[in-house]
C-alpha cells in the first residue's frame, strides 16, 4: 500500500482493524479461560466426589491414612499400600533415569560436536513417541523374564514392581535428558572459558562448574520427571500387578521389609484406578467413590511436587 492510500483510508481502516482485533482478542481470551475452567472443573469434581467417599459411614480418614490394606469391598481403605507401591516404582524409575539422563545430557551439551548432538537428540526423542502400552508389554515380556533370568524365578514374580519401575525409567529418560541438556546448554560459555583458563579439564568443567550453575534447571527437570513417573499408568497396569499388596497389619508389612520388595507384585494408585474403572463399575458402589479419593491423593502429591519444583527453581536460580 502506498503511503498516500494509507492516509486516505486511515480512519476507516483503524476502525475495522480494531473490530477484528477485539474479536481475535476475545477468542484467544476464551481459549485461555477454557483451559483454566477445565482445570478448575477437574479439581471441583475430584474434591466433591472424594468428599462423597469420605462421607460414607464405613470410611474414616484415620483408617484411610493408616490401614495396611486396600480392599474397599470389605471396608479396608488403607491408601498407604497404594501410595507406597507408587513410590517404589517412581524411585526405581528415578534410579534408572537420573544417572543415565545426566550422563547423556552432559555428553550432549559438553562433549558432543554440534553435528552429533543434532543427530542424537532427535533419535533420543523418538523414545518419547513410543506409546506407553508398548512399554507396558515390553516390561512384561522382556524386562520381567530378564530379571527372572538374572535374579531367579523364585524371587522375581511374573508381575513385579521392579520391571515396571525400570521401564518407566526408560520412558522418562528422554524427558530428563532433554530438560537437563537445555539447562546445561543455558549456562553461559563465559563460565566454561574461565574454568578452562584456570586449567580445569573438560570433566572438571562439566561436573564442578557447569552442573552446579545449572542446578535450578536440573532440579526442575528431575521433579517434572518424578511427576511423570508417579502419574504413569499403562506400564504399571500391565506389568506391576493387578492387586494391592495388602497386609493384615503394619508389623507384617515391615517384616523383612516385605512391603518394599521390588520383585513382587503390587498395585500403584494409577494402576488401581485403571483396573477398577476398566470394568465399567457401578456408580453407586464404594469402589467407584474410592477412585476419586485415590485420584485426589494422586493430585495432591503431584501438586505438592510442582510447588516444590517452583520453589527450588527460584531458590537455586543463578542469574548471569
Amino acid at each position: 500500500m502506498s503511503p498516500h492510500a494509507s492516509t486516505e483510508m486511515a480512519p476507516d481502516l483503524r476502525k475495522q482493524r480494531r473490530w477484528g482485533e477485539t474479536a481475535i482478542h476475545a477468542l484467544l481470551f476464551l481459549f485461555a479461560t477454557l483451559s483454566i475452567l477445565t482445570t478448575a472443573g477437574i479439581v471441583i469434581v475430584l474434591f466433591s466426589q472424594a468428599l462423597r467417599f469420605f462421607a460414607r459411614p464405613e470410611v474414616n480418614l484415620w483408617a484411610f491414612l493408616t490401614d495396611s490394606a486396600w480392599q474397599p469391598q470389605i471396608d479396608r481403605f488403607g491408601i498407604m499400600v497404594l501410595v507406597i507401591a507408587t513410590l517404589i516404582t517412581s524411585v526405581i524409575a528415578m534410579i534408572v533415569a537420573i544417572p543415565l539422563g545426566m550422563m547423556i545430557a552432559i555428553y550432549l551439551s559438553e562433549y558432543a560436536s554440534p553435528r552429533t548432538r543434532n543427530t542424537l537428540k532427535p533419535i533420543l526423542e523418538v523414545l518419547a513417541g513410543i506409546p506407553t502400552v508398548v512399554y507396558g508389554y515390553f516390561a512384561l515380556t522382556f524386562m520381567t523374564p530378564l530379571l527372572q533370568g538374572i535374579i531367579g524365578k523364585d524371587v522375581v514374580e511374573i508381575f513385579n514392581v521392579a520391571a515396571a519401575g525400570i521401564v518407566i525409567g526408560i520412558l522418562i529418560l528422554p524427558l530428563v535428558t532433554s530438560m537437563a541438556e537445555d539447562a546445561l546448554s543455558a549456562v553461559p560459555d563465559l563460565l566454561r572459558e574461565a574454568a578452562y583458563g584456570l586449567g580445569a579439564t573438560r570433566l572438571e568443567t562439566a561436573l564442578k562448574v557447569v552442573t552446579p550453575a545449572a542446578l535450578s534447571g536440573l532440579a526442575a527437570a528431575f521433579i517434572v520427571a518424578v511427576s511423570r513417573a508417579i502419574g504413569e499408568t499403562m506400564i504399571v497396569a500391565i506389568a506391576a500387578g493387578a492387586g494391592p499388596r495388602n497386609f493384615d497389619s503394619w508389623s507384617d508389612a515391615f517384616h523383612n521389609l516385605a512391603i518394599f520388595n521390588p520383585f513382587k507384585a503390587a498395585e500403584t494408585m494409577t494402576g488401581h484406578i485403571v483396573r477398577i474403572s476398566g470394568g465399567d463399575i457401578s456408580y453407586e458402589s464404594i469402589d467407584y467413590d474410592s477412585l476419586f479419593a485415590i485420584g485426589l491423593t494422586l493430585f495432591l502429591i503431584t501438586f505438592a511436587l510442582n510447588l516444590i519444583s517452583r520453589r527450588v527453581v527460584k531458590r537455586f536460580r543463578e542469574v548471569y
Binding site: G20, L140, G243, N246, G279
Partner: protein, 355 residues
Amino acid sequence: MKRILAVLVLLLLAALTLACSEQQTPVDEARQQQLAQIVIAYGQTLTSAEPCAPCDGTSAAPGQVQLPPVNPRQVTGDIIAAGSSTVFPLAERMAERFRAEGYTGNITIDSIGSGAGFERFCTAGETDISNASRPIKEKEIENCRKIGREPVEFRVGTDALAVVVNPENDWVENLSMEELAAAFATAETWSDIHPNWPDQPIQRFIPGTDSGTFDYFVEEVFDKDPEPILSTSHLQMSEDDNVLVQGVEGSKYAIGFFGYAFYGENQERLKVLAIEGVIPSREHVDDGSYPLARPLFMYSAPTIMQARPQVAAFLNFVLTYVNDEIVDVGYFPASDEALNQSRQNWLDVMGMKRP
C-alpha cells in the same frame, strides 16, 4: 486487512458448519423410513413363517419349542450388548454367524462383567442385551423396572469354572471343596493346605469383583461371603482373563480360576485341577457331577424387543442355533428344558403362540 479477511473466513466456516448440521435432518428422516420398512419386513417374515410351522420339513425332536425362522438379511438396525466376559466369546460367535448369514447392521458386544452389564442395562439403559454368567439380582430387577424395563431371561448355555495351576506344579491334581476354599483364602502357603506340599506362598489370580465368575465362585465356595477371599494377601484380580492366564503361566506357585472356555484356549499353558475328584468335561457337566458348573444367560426386555425388532431377531437366532456353536466356543449346551423355556419366553414376549 488480512485480519478482517481471516475473521470473515472464520465466520463463513461457522455458517457452513451450521448449514451442514441443518442438512442432516432429511437424512435422519430417510433413516426413520428405512427402519419402518424393516419393521414391516420383519413382521411379514414372522407371519409368513407361522402358517408353515405344521408343514415344516426340518421338524425337530418332539417336545422342542420351535421359533419362527429369521432371515438375517432382512434385519437391519444396530444391536448393543454388554456384560459378562464369560458369555462374550459365545455372543461374539453368534454375532459372527448372524453377520455371515446376511445381517448388515452393527452388533457391539462389550466384555465388562455381569454386574457392569446389568448396570448399563438397568440403570443407564444403554444396552439392548445384557450378557450374564449369573441370574439377575433382585436389586437389579428393581433398577430395571424403574426405567420401564422388565428383564426377561434367556438361558443360552452352561459354563464350568476351571481351577488351574502352573504346568510345573507337580503336587496338586485334585482339590476338595474345603481345600479349594483354603487355597483361595485361609492358607498362606501350599504347605498350609497339605503338609507335604511346598512351603511357598500361594499366588492367587482371580477375576475381578465385578465379574459374574467371581460372584459365582464366592457363592459356591465361600457361601456368598467375599470377605475371606478378598482379605488374603498375594491376590491379583483382573477382569481381563488374559492377565490371569499370564499370571498362572508365569509363576510356579500360582493358582487361579476362570471360565472353562478360557482354559480350553490355553490348555497347553495351564494345568486344570479336578474338584472333588471330578475333572471339568462335557460328560461331568451334563450329569451334574462337576461342582463348579453354572448357567449362562442373555437378558433383554419386552419393551426393547418389541420396539427394536433386530434385537428380537438376534435373540431368536441365538436360541435357535446356539447349540451348533457352543461346544466349539468352549462351553456346554444348556439342558433341553432350559433352552425350551428360553424359547417359550421369547414367544411370550413377542405375543406369539407356540406353533
